[in-house]
């Protein structure tokens, strides 16, 4: 057990999803002593794509090419949306700061000018997003220009059919070919997993074997697309070596979770933040919090039993929704799990969901979450900040249907920035 007095921090970030990672980064970059707690799997980063703002209004299915114009429209139409509480310059600063950090951590992101791009998914649907991992970028270009292209799928990899993707895209893309290959040394396996193949490709010996299998299928193709398996680490090296062996550029297609791009994103954050002297309690939870008389939070951390106690001047609550664990739904009510903060929600469970899964208006439950003031402080029952120095960021915030609006990472990053900025001002 650690002694709380020697564990005093400026801020404790609860959550290691996109919002928690971003908040920790922004705080550490501003020289706040920071402790972070969470228990993240890569599942919550899944695709590796960073959406900023894609669809608004959702019921009109209006797709935006320019995410910044889309943000303007959202701020105008939805004054409670988290974007409405951050200055646009701040959103830009936040996104740039985060992408620069990921770049330094070895995970480069590409963008089309300042606009949204379309990425090919493993179902063959075009996914509008803002920042795209380098490994997927040539797919974005290929989707736009439709050069002769080869799509590969792999024996034993479930839920990924190159032929199906190609068939969905065939129209207007005549030179789209497919091939079904076996990953080296998996002949004895009935099932293969992206994560295993991605770690195998970190070794150059395996890349050579893999290239020998792919090579004969390339023919006229000018670019080769395949499920996201191009190296769990050292992706740049993996990709350029393979491209050199095969002779044409390659791109990854993001797959259903658990996915390699999600894993890379998680690892890049953990690697990069380690260098910034952040205290990181990984795979741990906040078990309890007490607000002390002198305005500190005493935070109890552990898996199931108390393992550490830390003191922090402020908290950024980035504990996510139902998957993350920040919200919990009983049969009658939705609760916030750590502070039991009031959760803005539909009156009754009958109103949580619509009867049609794909209803274009989205499900009301996705609007539920924490109400905040302009400083990203969650409100208590009487509409005032619950604590002077408690802030919230990410998907736990109300009025933000990120799944339909395609703004998941964007809102997480922007609200984390907003929270850190307010925290600095208020705590000074």
């Amino acid at each position: 057990m650690t002694d709380p007095e020697s564990n005093k921090y400026d801020v404790c970030v609860i959550g290691t999803g996109m919002a928690g990672m971003a908040a920790t980064l922004f705080a550490a970059n501003r020289d706040l002593s920071t402790v972070q707690v969470g228990h993240t799997g890569e599942i919550i980063f899944t695709s590796g794509l960073l959406d900023l703002m894609g669809v608004h209004p959702v019921n009109a299915k209006h797709l935006w090419h320019d995410p910044w114009a889309a943000i303007d429209a959202v701020i105008r139409d939805l004054p409670n949306h988290p974007y409405a509480r951050v200055k646009k310059e701040d959103i830009r600063t936040a996104v740039e700061e985060l992408l620069a950090f990921l770049n330094d951590a070895g995970l480069a992101y590409y963008r089309r000018g300042d606009h949204n791009s379309e990425v090919l998914t493993s179902l063959g649907t075009p996914k509008p997003t803002y920042a795209v991992p380098q490994t997927m970028w040539k797919g974005v270009e290929a989707l736009a220009q439709k050069p002769p292209c080869l799509l590969l799928d792999i024996r034993g990899l479930k839920g990924f059919s190159a032929r199906q993707i190609a068939a969905t895209l065939q129209e207007g893309w005549p030179d789209l070919k497919t091939a079904h290959i076996s990953f080296p040394d998996t002949e004895h396996l009935s099932e293969v997993y992206t994560e295993h193949m991605a770690s195998a490709l970190v070794l150059s010996r395996n890349r050579e074997k893999f290239a020998r299998i792919v090579q004969p299928h390339v023919n006229e193709a000018q670019v080769v697309g395949l499920p996201a398996i191009l190296g769990l680490y050292r992706t740049n090296e993996v990709v350029s070596h393979l491209e050199q062996l095969i002779g044409v550029p390659m791109f990854e297609i993001p797959t259903i979770p658990p996915s390699v791009p999600g894993l890379r994103l998680k690892e890049a954050f953990e690697r990069g933040l380690r260098l910034k002297a952040v205290t990181y309690f990984s795979q741990k939870r906040v078990l309890g919090i007490r607000h002390t008389a002198d305005g500190f939070f005493e935070i109890i951390i552990g898996r199931t039993d108390t393992e550490h106690t830390v003191l922090s001047r402020a908290i950024i609550l980035a504990s996510g929704r139902f998957i993350g664990g920040g919200l919990h739904a009983g049969r009658k009510r939705i609760n916030e799990t750590i502070f039991d903060l009031p959760v803005s929600q539909p009156g009754h469970r009958t109103e949580w969901h619509r009867r049609d899964f794909l209803d274009s208006r989205g499900h009301p439950i996705n609007q539920a979450g924490l109400e905040i003031d302009d400083n990203f402080r969650p409100l208590n029952g009487s509409g005032r900040p619950a604590f002077e120095t408690l802030f919230a960021a990410g998907s736990i915030l109300a009025h933000n249907d990120w799944k339909r609006m395609k703004c998941g990472a964007g809102v997480a990053i922007a609200s984390a920035f907003g929270a850190v900025k307010s925290l600095i001002r208020i705590c000074q």
Binding site: V55, G124, G156, K158, R331, L358
Partner: protein, 516 residues
């Protein structure tokens, strides 16, 4: 236009219609069975799956109770592959009507229904999840029956004996001459194509839709519709069927089947047969009520809900002297001036065979065929197409002969590739396109905890790779699959299932953009 001829046209592919097809086929009568959608699209695919011992009806309807007892005993012998002989309990808790409790054994023995009184402690040892507020318990011979398998086996044997199944084929009208239906007009609801069937006899076995179909022939049947909803738990809660010992009310029965338990049911009058879905209110009512009997039902994980309609055939037909019992209505429309038209409706899954027998008897009399009924004595043969619906069956087979190339396409319900292949070929044999919907109907795919999130995609890509799906069908079918599954899932979304549905939407809308 397609024109077909047959001795008997059966309308409706539920337990009753498929049962009639088999019964007639065994008497050497060739039939065409026309089903608007797929096998068991009506009440037969949306019921509780309880093979009634009869105990439930001893007080309200002794006639039905006796029928249930006789038929259940018969089916346990002749169709054991469709039945899990779980046994059942009737239990009362504090506050329940004590007179009802006291009369129960006497009423049972009047109907010759075996019943054994247990002391409360004994009952709780048998079923530890029972409430500690139990005041009485009786053991009866209830069992659980797989309605999909049952109908599939019935239709398979009929087909093997030369009958024809037309799925996705709806009856839309009749041409009559002065005393008879001359031809029946049907429509292929997928292609829109019209089919004309010339049959000597027409049987209307459309359950709740019987009134609508009879009206097409100019005959009138009074029917009241009662919707019932049910909820499926993630894992099995009790080993036996558990009935609340009181006169029928909501959420009285918990029926185990394979790896799950099913809680039900409600009874709500409805006017519109196309508006049949389970609601959040019904789920809440049932859980609130059922916890009095089994407290764990408050905290168990429910994975989906569904609803079916019971047709309550009204006074006119009930007073009809041809209605064999109060349990079901067999109507000879000779009274409406149509000599070759018969309606069978109402009743229970448990008595489907008896209903089929009585209907076939009448039809054969009209056809002047004297062949006796054979379903009363001959076992129901086990056939391929019906094998994969039983919860827990796919895993058992997969574990038993696991081939190295055989990967699991559905991990929650453990449905491997080989099972999907087997289904594909048997669906082909029934002249149907093997798509996600047909596979979902015949297996547990998409019915497990993951709500079809992963297996939906896997089965789609697999079917596509096998050349079973056209490219433009993949996304359409996937959307339809999720939309259909969702209707049953949304009333049970809280706690873990809500997390699951959030992940489902994050993946399929957030990432794949299926809603766009």
């Amino acid at each position: 236009m397609n024109s077909l001829q047959t001795q008997v046209l059966i309308i409706g592919g539920g337990a009753t219609g498929t049962g009639i097809a088999r019964d007639l086929a065994l008497r050497g009568v060739k039939c065409i069975l026309a089903e608007r959608r797929d096998i068991n699209a009506g009440a037969s695919g949306a019921n509780h799956g309880l093979l009634h011992s009869g105990g439930r009806y001893v007080s309200s309807d002794p006639g039905s109770a006796i029928e249930c007892r006789e038929e259940a005993e018969l089916l346990k012998r002749l169709a054991p592959q469709c039945i899990e002989d779980t046994g059942g309990l009737f239990v009362a808790v504090e506050g329940d009507d004590e007179k009802y409790v006291a009369d129960f054994p006497q009423l049972c023995s009047q109907c010759k229904i075996p019943v054994k009184a247990l002391d409360v402690k004994e009952a709780r040892e048998l079923e530890p999840e029972l409430s500690d507020k139990l005041i009485a318990a009786y053991m009866v011979k209830d069992a659980s029956i797989d309605p999909f398998k049952l109908s599939m086996e019935n239709i398979s044997q009929a087909q093997n004996l030369g009958s024809t199944l037309l799925r996705f084929t709806k009856v839309v009208g009749f041409e009559k001459n002065n005393k008879e239906i001359r031809t029946t007009r049907l429509q292929d609801i997928i292609s829109g194509e019209e089919i004309i069937v010339e049959a000597q006899q027409v049987v209307n076995a459309t359950g709740a839709w019987a009134g609508e179909v009879a009206a097409l022939a100019g005959a009138h049947i009074d029917i009241i519709y009662s919707k019932g909803s049910l909820i499926v738990t993630h894992s099995r809660v009790t080993n036996r069927v558990v009935n609340r010992l009181r006169s029928s009310a909501s959420a009285d029965i918990l029926v185990p089947g394979g790896t799950v338990s099913i809680l039900g049911t409600t009874s709500i009058r409805i006017d519109d047969l196309d508006q049949v879905y389970p609601t959040v209110e019904e789920v809440d009512t049932m859980v609130d009520e059922a916890v009095k009997m089994i407290p764990a039902l408050e905290t168990v994980r429910y994975i989906r809900a569904y609803a079916g309609v019971r047709p309550l055939v009204g006074s006119r037909s009930a007073s009809d002297d041809r209605s064999v019992s109060r349990g079901f209505a067999l109507i000879d429309h000779v009274h409406d001036g149509i000599e070759n038209f018969t309606t069978i409706s109402g009743g229970k899954l448990t008595t489907y065979r008896l209903m089929a027998e009585k209907t076939a008897d009448l039809v054969c009399r009209k056809l002047r065929i004297s062949a006796p009924c054979r379903t009363r004595t001959e076992p129901l043969p086990e056939s391929q197409p019906a094998r994969w619906t039983e919860p827990g069956l796919a895993p058992k087979l997969w574990l038993r002969h696991h081939e190295p190339e055989d990967i699991l396409l559905c991990e929650c319900e453990m449905v491997p590739k080989s099972v999907v292949d087997a289904m594909v070929s048997s669906i082909r044999e029934q002249n149907v396109q093997p798509d996600l919907r047909a596979i979902a109907l015949r297996s547990r795919i998409g019915k497990g905890a993951c709500q079809g999130m992963f297996c939906g995609v896997r089965v789609t890509t697999y079917l596509f790779d096998q050349g079973e799906l056209h490219p433009e069908q993949c996304l359409t079918h996937l959307r339809e699959f999720f939309t259909t599954r969702w209707k049953g899932q949304h009333p049970t979304l809280w706690d873990k299932q809500l997390m699951q549905s959030e992940l489902l939407e994050a993946l399929h809308c957030g990432f794949f953009g299926l809603e766009l």
